[in-house]
C-alpha cells in the first residue's frame, strides 16, 4: 500500500473560528494506482492535496495520520516535511502557468532547485523527460514568458517528477486548458505512472468525465468528508451515494440531445464548514433524506473496494 490516510482532520484557522475543511477522511492509494479526487468547489479536495505536501499558513493539522510507503509523514511540521517533498511526494500545482520564476531561464532554475536540494543534475535524464512530454530541449534556454501555456504546464510536469517521487499530487491541473490539451495532459500523467516515474497519483479535479478517463479509482468528497469511493467504472455506472448520482446526472452525455430534457445541476450549495450541520452534511440538498440522516452515516464498504457514506446506500 503506497499511501494510507487515516481519519485526517485539517482545519483552517480564521478570525471567525475553525473551518473544518477536512473532517476525518480515511482512504488508501495502492501501488501504481491513480486516485481521482472529485467534488464541487469547497468540498476539501484541494485542502487534502495541499495537506499531503505543504500546508499553507492558515491550515492546522488537527488529527489523523498519513503514511507513505509505511513511513508516517509529519504533515503538520513544515520543517521535517521538507525531507519528503520533491523526493517522496511531489506536486503539479493548479497554477502551472505562473509556477516558474519569470526572471530565470528554465534550465538554470531547474539546476538551482536541484542544487538547493542537494541533488546533482542529470542532464541526460532531464532531456529524456522533456522528450517524453514532447518538449524541445531548447526550452531550457528560454524564459517562461517565451513558452505557451501548454508548454509551461509540461515543463512543470517534468520538473515535479524529476526525482521519481512515490506520490504525485496533480491539483486541478487541467482547469485552465482547452479540451484537446486536457486529454494530452491526462495521457502524459497516465504515462508517468505506466513508465514507473511515480508510484501512485492523486488526481484532483472537479471534472468527473476527465477523471474517469485516467483514474483507476474515484473518490468523491462532500463538505470535508468522503462521500463515495469506488473503481472508476463502478462509480460512473453504478453510483450509490445520492450526491455522486446527482453529480453524474449533471454531466452531459455524448450522443444525447438535450432538447426535451434540460441538464440540471444540484440545487443549493454546500454547507458552511465553519459550523457544519450535525449528521449527514448533504442532508439539506438530498432528495432521499429521511430521519436517520440526522446522525452521521459511517463509511461502509458495500462491495469490494466500494465505500459509501450514506444510510440509504
Amino acid at each position: 500500500m503506497s499511501l494510507r490516510v487515516s481519519d485526517l482532520k485539517v482545519y483552517y484557522k480564521t478570525l471567525k473560528g475553525q473551518v473544518k475543511a477536512l473532517d476525518g477522511v480515511s482512504f488508501e492509494v495502492g501501488d501504481r494506482e491513480i486516485l481521482g479526487l472529485a467534488g464541487e468547489s469547497g468540498c476539501g479536495k484541494t485542502t487534502l492535496g495541499k495537506s499531503l505536501i505543504r500546508m499553507d499558513g492558515r491550515m492546522r493539522h488537527i488529527g489523523g495520520t498519513v503514511e507513505l510507503d509505511g513511513e508516517e509523514m509529519p504533515i503538520g511540521d513544515d520543517r521535517r516535511m521538507n525531507a519528503f517533498r520533491f523526493h517522496e511526494v511531489s506536486l503539479i500545482p493548479q497554477y502551472s502557468m505562473s509556477a516558474l520564476n519569470p526572471t530565470r531561464k528554465i534550465g538554470k532554475m531547474v539546476a538551482e532547485l536541484l542544487h538547493s536540494r542537494g541533488v546533482a543534475l542529470d542532464a541526460g535524464k532531464l532531456r529524456g523527460r522533456l522528450d517524453a512530454v514532447g518538449l524541445p530541449h531548447e526550452v531550457l534556454d528560454r524564459y517562461p514568458i517565451e513558452l505557451s501555456g501548454g508548454m509551461k504546464q509540461r515543463v512543470v510536469m517534468v520538473v515535479s517528477t524529476l526525482l521519481d517521487p512515490s506520490l504525485l499530487i496533480a491539483d486541478e491541473i487541467t482547469s485552465a486548458l482547452d479540451v484537446s490539451t486536457q486529454k494530452a495532459v491526462a495521457g502524459a500523467l497516465a504515462a508517468f505512472r505506466d513508465d514507473g516515474l511515480v508510484k501512485s497519483m492523486i488526481f484532483v479535479t472537479h471534472d468527473l468525465s476527465l477523471t474517469y478517463q485516467i483514474a483507476d479509482t474515484i473518490m468523491v468528497m462532500y463538505a470535508g468528508k468522503l462521500a463515495e469511493k469506488a473503481p472508476a467504472k463502478e462509480i460512473v455506472e453504478a453510483p450509490r451515494h445520492p450526491y455522486t448520482r446527482l453529480l453524474i446526472n449533471s454531466l452531459p452525455e455524448v450522443g444525447v440531445r438535450y432538447a426535451d430534457r434540460k441538464l440540471t445541476g444540484i440545487a443549493g450549495s454546500p454547507p458552511s464548514l465553519l459550523n457544519p450541520p450535525k449528521g449527514c452534511r448533504f442532508r439539506d440538498r438530498c432528495p432521499l433524506a429521511f430521519a436517520q440522516c440526522e446522525q452521521e452515516p459511517p463509511v461502509v464498504e458495500v462491495a469490494p473496494n466500494h465505500s459509501v457514506a450514506c444510510w440509504k446506500a
Binding site: 505536501i53 505543504r54 519528503f84 500545482p93 497554477y95 516558474l100 526572471t103 538547493s116 536540494r117 524564459y143
Partner: protein, 331 residues
Amino acid sequence: MRRYFGRKLLVYGLTFFVAVTINWMVPRFMPGDPVSSMVARTGASNPAAAETMRVYYTGLFGLDQPIWQQYFNFWATLFQGDFGISIWAFPTPVSEIILGAVPYTLALMIPAILLSWVVGNWFGAYAARRKALDNAVLPIGYILTAMPYMWLAVLLAWGLGVVAGLFPVAGGYSFSTRPNWSWDFFLDLLHHWTLPFASLFLAALGGWAIGMRNMIIYELESDYSNYLSALGAPQRLIRRYAFRNAVLPQITGLALQLGVLVAGALVTEIVFSYPGLGSLILKAIQNQDFFLLQGTFLFIVLGVLIANFIIDIVYVVVDPRTRAGMAGAQA
C-alpha cells in the same frame, strides 16, 4: 533592439526640446526686469549714466530683440556650448558657475540616493517576514519617510552641529581655506559633506525599506514561490528569487529619484548653505538671472534624461520580459 533604442532616443529628444523650451520661457514670465535691478545695484545716481548702462546691458544680453528672435538665438548659442553670461555674477559665464557647483551637488546626491537605495532595499528584504525585525523596521521606516527631509536636516544641523559641535553646519568647506588638491582640504570637504549627506540618506532610507519589504512579501506569496516551497526548496533560494523580482519596481523608483536629483537637494543645500546647484537656483531666482536659471534647469533636464536612459538599459539587462517587449510583444 535597435528599433527599441531608436524609439527611446526619439522620445528623449522630443522631451529635451520641450523641457528646454519651457525652461527658457519660465524665467521670462517672472515679474520684474533683471537689467534695472542690475543697474540699481551699481548705484548710478546720474539718470543719463543709468540709461546708458541700461541700453548697454540690454543689448549685451540680447533683451532688446523681439522675443522669437531671443528664442532662436538661445538655441543657436546653446549648440555652440554657450549658456550666456550670468547677471547675478556678472560677467562670469553661466557655464563656469554651473561647473563649479555641479561637483558639490553630484557628490552629495549620488551617494545619498544610491546608498539609501542599496541599504534600504537590502534592509527591507531582510526584514520582510522576520517578525521581530519587521515590527521594528516598519514603524521606523514610516517615521523616516514621513519626516520632511529639510526638517531632518535642520534637526541634524542643530543636534550634531550646534549642540554637539561635531560637524560644521554651513558651507562646502571651511571659510578659512581655499579649494586645493590637498589631503587636509579633502578631509575638510568630507567633514562638511557628512550632515547634508546623512539627512538625505536617512530621509530616503525608510521609503526604500518599506517598499522593498512590501514587494518581497508580495513575491514570497506568488505562485512560483509557493511551487518552490512545495518542492522543498530552502528559504534562501526562494528569497533570492523574490529579491531579484521585487527589485524591478524599485529600479523604476530609483530612476524617478535620480530624476529629481538636483531639485531634491535644493532645500538641503539651502539649510546647510552648501554650494551646489540647489543654492544656485535660489540665487538665480532671487536675482532674476535668466541665463543662470536656464543653465541650471538645462543641467537638471539633462540629468533626468541621462538617468532615465541608463535605467532603461539596466532594465533590459535585468528583466527578460522587457526584451520580449522589444520584439513588439505587449507586456
